[in-house]
Amino acid sequence: MEWLGPEEWQAVRLSLRVSFWATLAGLPPALLAAYALARWRFPGKQLLNGLVHLPLILPPVVTGYLLLLTFGTRGPVGAMLQEIGLVFAFRWTGAALAAGVMAFPLVVRAIRLSLEAVDPKLEQAAATLGASRPWVFVTVTLPLILPGIIAGAVLGFAKAMGEFGATITFVSNIPGQTQTLPSAIYAFLQVPGGESAALRLVAVSVAVAMSALLLSEWLARRAQKRVAGT
């Protein structure tokens, strides 16, 4: 793509990488949280529910600042993780963490909805046929909620691509390190004559978002067809 400058190109690549890892790393905990909220009864369930949804209702700046306090080099968790060589502060990994946290509630909601649509009677039937709980989950529940997982993942990916407030607060706006698409657009708009570069990045944003949406529609339709059993 000749029409993108190296700096712009860098922002696009970084954004894709950040969103990919944010989505991938976020899926297992999102699946667990969705399962707990949909199926388990335990004290503090409402607390977990609130915690999961917090990034959705807090101002992103607040989420970013809380991440900085917790995962910053001097934060309690950040200092601990630094010992094993995992640094979030002002790195692309931090941008991925911020994007993942912001996308988390959307992913959980999508998976939870599909979990609640699964008929527990099918899981009972699997148990009478000899499947233990983990096997029931892998062979019945998981295939049946696959459309929900795909929808959640794509929604999360799109949210991660667009995440700005928490990212810029947590890991700042360093070209090549933490300057994602939205940060780059913002930066270009701050300098005179940067509108054309900003506009090009806006076009890329729209293209990526649209193709993600179309891909998810296609995948979900295929999965739905499998699940409907026709």
Partner: protein, 370 residues
């Protein structure tokens, strides 16, 4: 193999306290909806944890609250045929059929699987998805799926209730074959008198969570005291043999030496059948009636008379063909001076025997009924 069940369970105002044994063949749990039938099968399968009780298949204890023993459902190896089939929608028919095999210690061989598929007539459906099957086809696949998990026993919770009459008569013969060919005991829940009459080797009658009577089917069904569905649904079962087909559309049966005429039954002479005679279709007469359109007249001796709440009474009659139940009014009983020991004739119209009242033989027939 024998299943022995003893259960106490309470939820809300409903109180279940049931104790019975299910030997080989089909044991039908018989009672109105809400009498606790499904609770019992779910407890046997391990899908419901009862307050107290013990369930065992021969020496293997599935659970025993006294000894705090609980085998989780996936380790019980009990094939459960659900009312709604519950096929896995994301798997093909073939994958559904083989789902249980991977968890079973003894995988069915290729030949065994082939036999089940052939018996159920589902060979043409193997690559289809459950969503593309009819209700009857789904239920046949569900039966096959339960059979191929190499179960210790089978549970069937009203597997025909969701089907229309045509589909029911499509599935019933498969259960008859299971009863006569499979080695495992089958616990079958039903609230249909015709199903019980056709399928049951043993009947466990349930009323409001209590077992009111259990025993061989012919015995329990001919007992005027046992009417879990009310006297209107009472009816005895006769064992008979097809003798010959008549040109006028009738089939002649032999029940203990007595000829019995019923509407055309497509079966070869010599075939053993069970015929359910609904109690309200039987007329009693002290003298042998003459000039009557009804073709079946059997002499017998009154065994027992049981009065109901309404104007009706149930009379059980010992005949050479077996025990017959007749539902008559108190007024008639008084007019005929019926009492135990009295000799009278049971009159039955041929056309009163519906096709769903006629079934295959079953291997554990009570002797003495022949």
């Amino acid at each position: 193999m024998t299943l022995s069940v003893s259960l106490q369970h309470r939820f809300g105002s409903f109180d279940l306290d049931a104790c019975f044994e299910a030997p080989a063949g089909i044991t039908v749990l018989f009672g109105r909806s809400g009498s606790g039938k499904t609770t019992i099968v779910n407890a046997v399968a391990g899908l419901l944890r009862p307050d107290a009780g013990r369930v065992a298949v021969d020496d293997l204890v599935l659970f025993d609250t006294g000894r705090r023993h609980w085998l989780p459902p996936h380790r019980r190896r009990i094939g459960y045929i659900f009312q709604e089939g519950r096929l896995f929608p994301h798997l093909s028919v073939r994958q559904n059929l083989h789902y249980g095999a991977r968890f079973s210690p003894r995988r069915p061989t290729h030949a065994e699987a082939g036999r089940v598929v052939e018996m159920l007539g589902i060979g043409a459906l193997l690559e289809r998805r459950p969503g593309a099957l009819s209700g009857g086809e789904k239920q046949r696949v569900a039966i096959g799926r339960a059979l191929l998990s190499s179960p210790r026993m089978l549970l069937a919770d009203e597997p025909l209730a969701a089907l229309d009459e045509a589909r029911k008569s499509e599935i019933l013969p498969y259960f008859e074959r299971l009863r006569d060919e499979a080695e495992v005991p089958i616990l079958f829940v039903s609230h249909s008198a015709a199903e019980v009459a056709r399928l049951a080797t043993t009947v466990v009658a349930l009323e409001n969570g209590r077992v009111t009577r259990q025993g061989p089917a012919a015995e329990v069904l001919a007992d005027p005291a046992v009417t879990p569905l009310g006297a209107r649904a009472a009816g005895a079962v006769l064992s008979a043999q097809v003798v010959r087909q008549h040109d006028d559309g009738l089939t002649e049966l032999d029940a203990g030496g007595t000829p019995l005429f019923i509407p055309r039954l497509n079966a070869a002479p010599g075939t053993q059948v069970r015929v359910r005679i609904a109690a309200h279709e039987v007329i009693l007469s002290r003298q042998r009636p003459e000039g009557l359109s009804a073709l079946n007249i059997i002499a017998g001796q009154v065994q027992e008379i049981r009065a109901g709440d309404g104007p009706g009474m149930l009379v059980s009659l010992d005949t050479p063909a077996g025990r017959v139940l007749a539902r008559i009014t108190r007024r008639s009983a008084a007019a005929l001076e019926l009492a135990p020991g009295a000799i009278c004739h049971a009159v039955m119209k041929s056309v009163a025997v519906a096709p769903e009242d006629i079934g295959g033989p079953g291997r554990n027939e009570t002797p003495g009924l022949r």
